[in-house]
Symmetry: C2
Subunit: 132 residues, 2 copies
DNA sequence: TGCTTAATGCAATTTTGTTGCAAATATAGA
DNA sequence: TCTATATTTGCAACAAAATTGCATTAAGCA
């Protein structure tokens, strides 16, 4: 895994995600980093953080992609590579709009043979404890 | 549930979805119906089909929303309303790009109390049987 | 410290989805 | 079958989200 460089934008965005209790969209991240870098750069930094395995992404029911720091994401060996799994559930609150990683809610699924899983996205929408 | 009208565009798009083995995006649907109606109309027809409970939608890992005919989606009574549930898994093939409904793969999840589920989207990406 | 290559900013473009309004048309009722 | 009316459609314009190319900047290794 070739390493990517440590830049101001990267550091800033990574900290933002690590300190957030919620998953953030590119738009939100850019809003919170207005002066640190260009909008295009946030896209590129996020791609870098993704492929470095530092963050993972999740897609809401509205199609909005959000990013969250990897905390307890399980790591599995597969050959020589680390396989990063983010199969915990993400909760989309329809009231406050927040997306939360439920790190310890991991659905069990049994796919028919011959399907090879590489990545998963489990999203559940409804009302979160704060809003109910 | 007020009924929506039966128009050429609606009939065409509904048949397209019912005859497809895969979920289709608005872009794909429009591509397959080039001359039947305007681009905006496909969006509106899809919304109508959704709220009529004839199709359901699923969001891929790339954020692309796709639509699929309801086949074995379970119906549950809740008060006087039918509750339409689409909690089966959708498989995203990373090779051919197709999204397939795995109607009989329904994950069991146990959310912490106080989270109220209203809708779910389970997507798994990898390689489908055709491509492996 | 200098060099190489990755990262950035900027401007332009593409893609995706939405809105308002006038014209067309599906359906219920006469 | 014809008519009234409310839904649906097309069009044009707009808004939002994401991508690309290229010249410039800067991170990090030797």
């Amino acid at each position: 895994m070739k390493k990517s460089r440590n830049t101001a934008a990267r550091t800033h965005i990574q900290e933002l995600l690590q300190q957030s209790d919620f998953a953030l969209s590119q738009t939100e991240i850019y809003g919170l980093s207005e002066e640190i870098c260009d909008r295009v750069t946030t896209y590129r930094v996020l791609d870098r953080l993704l492929s470095d395995g530092v963050v993972h992404k999740t897609v809401g029911l509205d199609g909005v992609v959000k990013y969250a720091a990897c905390r307890t994401c399980s790591h599995e060996e597969e050959g020589h590579n680390h396989l990063h799994r983010h199969d915990h559930v993400h909760f989309n609150c329809e009231n406050c709009g927040q997306v939360t990683c439920l790190e310890n809610v991991v659905p069990e699924i049994k796919l028919p043979r011959k399907y090879k899983i590489r990545e998963a996205n489990f999203t559940v929408a409804g009302v979160c404890p704060e809003c109910s």
